[in-house]
Symmetry: C2
Subunit: 220 residues, 2 copies
DNA sequence: GCATACACGTGAGGC
DNA sequence: TGCCTCACGTGTATG
């Protein structure tokens, strides 16, 4: 099934016996000719666009028409969703209502030497918050590779990607995560006395006093 | 041209005179029948996908097939470009090689009371740079609304959206831009003694000494 | 009448 | 061989 499709040669256009011999009047025959020619032009237009689509789709050179169109349908669906997602996500999303700090430590690159940290902070915004968070990383000897911040309606959401400057994880990734988390918590929620509240496992602590939820995720 | 296309009724499937009367053997006739039926199924598959595409495209209900396909081509092109743009833009792009600080002051919202500033900084990365820039805004009484930072290969690119905390532009937007620009320059390029170099107009200064280009843009 | 667009059945060629 | 896909010319409907 599915012959080469795009490289197929049409048979030499067997000219429909135009004149004489058949039970056709001359005008009938000519009108039939212009008709078939118009129809061929129509086919060429359609197949031209089909060929263009084939070139635009991945691995579509051997697909038959129906399969090609079906893949176009999926591709359009996929692209539409992707465009819609990224259109609302170019910057960090609208700051969520829940207060939350997440810290995840991972190794990037082919060698497992480069340790990266992804940290997010959602909290009430206030003057100096951003500076404070940035300073916290500096104090920990972490370099900021990427950062995104959105502030809206008194709420702020931050995303940071950091790396350990000396490439040394020290006491291990879990301990590093805990340290970062505590440093961020001190800046983001200074009013809350934060001890070493149960980092050992993923947990959610509902602080009834200020109606805040602090959650700590060891994985994502 | 272009009849309703999607609501067209096929003529009642004029069954090709199957048996008898024609100069066909019975097996020939039957094979011809299964052939034409297979061909119809094939057409139905293709047209089914075309109908799906028609539903997905805007205002395509009256298009003929060729026009529909041509609009699908444009749509896919458009979506691909959009997806590619936003895919590489969710974070700030790869840090450019040229050193540059841009500051633009504008009024956001329906009322012209809210003054915003968009500032970008491209420079060599170093520990504490991010903290320094964030601190510069803090020192100027500016609140950071949005921020993006990318650091790659020793280069860093920052985008900030700020607002004046007290909503007061003070000596006017141009003066504010100048102030912000100078503060950022002091952090980003401390080795360069930066005077009040010609803010008055958009300009580019090529500093031959360190092969850096500082450009200042009053508009974007 | 003319132009256009569609569905159809058929022949040809590829696995 | 049979099954599949394609291009073709035709009949027919619409404007």
């Amino acid at each position: 099934m599915a012959s080469t499709a795009s490289t197929r040669q049409p048979p030499p256009t067997a000219t429909p016996e135009l004149s004489s011999s058949s039970g056709r009047s001359a005008t009938e025959a000519r009108s039939l000719k212009v008709h078939s020619e118009a129809e061929r032009r129509r086919r060429e237009r359609i197949n031209g666009h089909l060929a263009t689509l084939r070139r635009m789709m991945p691995d579509a050179s051997q697909m038959d028409k129906a399969t090609l169109l079906s893949s176009v349908v999926s591709q359009v669906r996929h692209l539409k969703r992707k465009a819609a997602e990224t259109a609302t996500q170019p910057l960090t999303p609208v700051p969520p209502e829940a207060n939350e700090i997440t810290v995840r430590c991972y190794t990037a690159g082919s060698d497992d030497r480069t340790t990266c940290i992804r940290a997010t902070v959602s909290c009430d915004d206030r003057p100096g918050l951003f500076t404070g968070l940035a300073g916290a990383f500096r104090g920990l000897g972490l370099r900021t590779l990427r950062a995104e911040l959105a502030s809206l309606g008194g709420r702020a959401h931050h995303v940071f990607v950091l790396c350990n400057e000396d490439g040394d994880v020290g006491a291990g990734p879990r301990a590093l995560e805990r340290t970062v988390w505590q440093a961020l918590a001190q800046v983001a929620f200074p009013e809350t006395a934060f001890g070493g509240t149960s980092w050992s496992k993923r947990q959610r602590i509902l602080d009834a006093g200020c109606s805040l939820m602090y959650s700590l995720r060891a994985e994502i």
